[in-house]
């Protein structure tokens, strides 16, 4: 039977009943992953940021007080902070995960395309085309095939003559670089996600 408590109630309850936090995670994990994916354009980064945000929220849940801020809005506050750090430093650290003893996991290969499905590339295609010119030839080719031509990773790998894992890596790194660059130019990549 699903938990009937509100997000705020769950977050407050998780202070003494840590398992309540897991329910909060179940409710919002995919939305948060989409939030990150649309902003970073990179499945790996989005997954890492999602993990780190929930880990930090879990570690800091004692500091949450119900002052009218919805529990999930509080989590999105952490998410924005983490995203800002990523755009500043160009990487995601795992400090919160280490603090609560969570492992740092690799993104399973089959998840790349699933997470990319969460990203709506249509509005940013034009900006992407310009940004692509700044990438290395390998990354640019992989990105074009994957994002512009919307080929599957296996097809991208075939066209480039590399392994599928290698194709994923090229696209992932290229996307990350493009996201950082567009962010520096102050370009809005995504529609707002309700927080």
């Amino acid at each position: 039977m699903p938990d009937q408590r509100t997000d705020t109630e769950l977050l407050l309850a998780s202070r003494d009943e840590p398992e309540a936090f897991t329910e909060l995670y179940r409710r919002h994990a995919e939305d948060l992953l989409r939030y990150f994916a649309r902003r970073t354009l990179d499945p790996e980064t989005a997954a890492e940021l999602t993990a780190e945000t929930f880990a930090e929220a879990f570690a800091s849940r004692q500091t949450y007080t119900d002052k009218g801020v919805n529990g999930v809005a509080w989590i999105y506050g952490i998410a924005r902070h983490r995203l800002g750090r990523f755009f500043r430093h160009g990487r995601v650290d795992a400090s919160a995960r280490r603090r609560i003893g969570m492992p740092e996991r690799e993104l399973p290969p089959e998840d790349y395309e699933r997470i990319e499905d969460l990203i709506d590339f249509a509005p940013i295609r034009e900006a992407l085309s310009e940004a692509l010119e700044t990438l290395s030839p390998d990354q640019r080719d992989a990105m074009k095939l994957r994002v512009i031509d919307e080929l599957a990773y296996q097809e991208v790998a075939d066209r480039l003559g590399c392994s599928e894992a290698n194709a994923r890596q090229r696209v992932s790194r290229g996307l990350r670089k493009v996201a950082l660059m567009l962010q520096e130019r102050g370009m809005q990549l995504t529609t707002e996600v309700e927080a």
Partner: protein
């Protein structure tokens, strides 16, 4: 969890395990196992602020250390200042006249040479106080902004120098042989009167110590100091000069403007045809008159201050008991403890401020370097 993304499922499992661990810890804490794990669970923000606070404390401690170290060479001088201040019954040492000020600082052959070394600028021995210059502002003899200068026959440069108005202040602590206090007291009084001055305040104790304030014509100030030094052994002396020339000129100009304004208002009043105008002008004239009198008062005060120097004399027999015995720091009374604590606190604050003066510019430079390095690294990362 209803998702087809495996990573999210794995993450759920990881969070569930973390929650289970936390539950175990909480259960252990509830069972009386103490909160030994509490530090691990401190909120990140709390630890973050803790780190900032620790850094700040370290910075301040470093600043205080630097402050104390840098103040050490000046300790002797500081002691001399306080000796002079205490000896003369003052609340503390005053800063000597600024470099370039025409205040004369005669060198002394005895007493606190550090004072002289820090303040002596080798200027004239004679005070340029009255020097034949007469600012007769009440007559309005000068143009606005220029005091009326009556110094005929003086070279232009000397006239310029004589424009200076210096308020002089001397302090001297003299030790006389035991039993000589009364005779020395008479000497002090005689020196004051013989030079055209007087003893403004006098306070003696046990016929062995006394503090006197002398008012001496400014021109005789140096002579008075010299004669006072001859009374006994000079333990400390100090001469300060405050240049009030700018203030004097300002007030003089202001007075002239006010006088002109009053004349103008009076003329207008004479020509006024309606009663309301006359009343309004009368009010303005009265207000101007009040300001004129106030300004004249300030000028008179300045003139008096300039015309007569103040010398504070601390006279004591060699083995006279101290007026204010040093508090016993090993076993202080409550009042002494509070005072010592407060003084210590102020010293630490002073040292911290001095230290910050050294550290802040260095910290700013370090911050700028860090900022540049970060910027360069970010750009490089962006380029690669």
């Amino acid at each position: 969890m209803n998702t087809d993304i495996r990573f999210l499922e794995q993450l759920e499992g990881d969070l569930t395990e973390a929650a289970a661990r936390e539950s175990a810890v909480l259960a252990g804490a509830g069972a009386g196992s103490g909160d030994g794990d509490r530090s691990r669970r401190l909120p990140r923000r709390e630890r973050h602020w803790g780190a900032i606070a620790a850094g700040l404390v370290a910075f301040l401690v470093l600043a205080a250390s630097i402050g104390f170290l840098t103040q050490r060479p000046g300790q002797e001088r500081a002691t001399s200042f306080s000796e002079v201040g205490d000896a003369a019954g003052g609340s503390g040492a005053e800063v000597p006249a600024a470099q370039g000020s025409p205040a004369p600082m005669p060198a002394t052959d005895r007493g606190t040479t550090t004072w002289q070394a820090s303040s002596g600028n080798g200027t004239r021995q004679e005070a340029p106080l009255a020097g034949g210059v007469n600012y007769d502002t009440a007559t309005g003899g000068g143009a606005a902004g220029q005091p009326a200068l009556n110094a005929p026959g003086l070279p232009a440069t000397q006239q310029q120098g004589d424009l200076s108005k210096i308020v002089r202040d001397g302090r001297i602590a003299i030790v006389v042989p035991d039993g000589d206090f009364d005779a020395s007291l008479n000497n002090v009084s005689r020196i004051a009167t013989s030079l055209g001055g007087f003893v403004l305040t006098s306070s003696t104790r046990d016929q062995s110590t006394g503090i006197f304030t002398l008012r001496i014509p400014a021109k005789k100030f140096d002579v008075a100091m010299e004669r006072l030094r001859g009374i006994g052994e000079v333990r400390a002396d100090a001469v300060t000069g405050q240049d009030v020339t700018a203030e004097f000129i300002d007030q003089t100009a202001r007075l002239q403007i006010l006088l002109d304004r009053r004349d103008l208002l009076q003329n207008l009043q004479n020509e006024a045809t309606t009663s309301s105008e006359i009343l309004r002008l009368a009010g303005l004239i009265e207000q101007t008159q009040l300001e004129i009198e106030k300004t004249q008062g300030q000028l008179r005060y300045l003139k008096n201050q300039v015309a007569e120097a103040t010398i504070k004399v601390d006279l004591r027999e060699r083995h006279a008991p101290d007026d204010t015995p040093e508090p016993d720091t090993d076993n202080p009374s409550l009042a002494d403890a509070i005072r010592l604590g407060w003084e210590g606190f102020l010293r630490v604050i002073g040292a911290v401020i001095v230290g910050l003066g050294y550290l802040v510019p260095i910290a700013l430079i370090a911050l700028a370097i860090w900022g540049i390095v970060t910027l360069v690294r970010r750009r490089r990362r962006g380029a690669s």
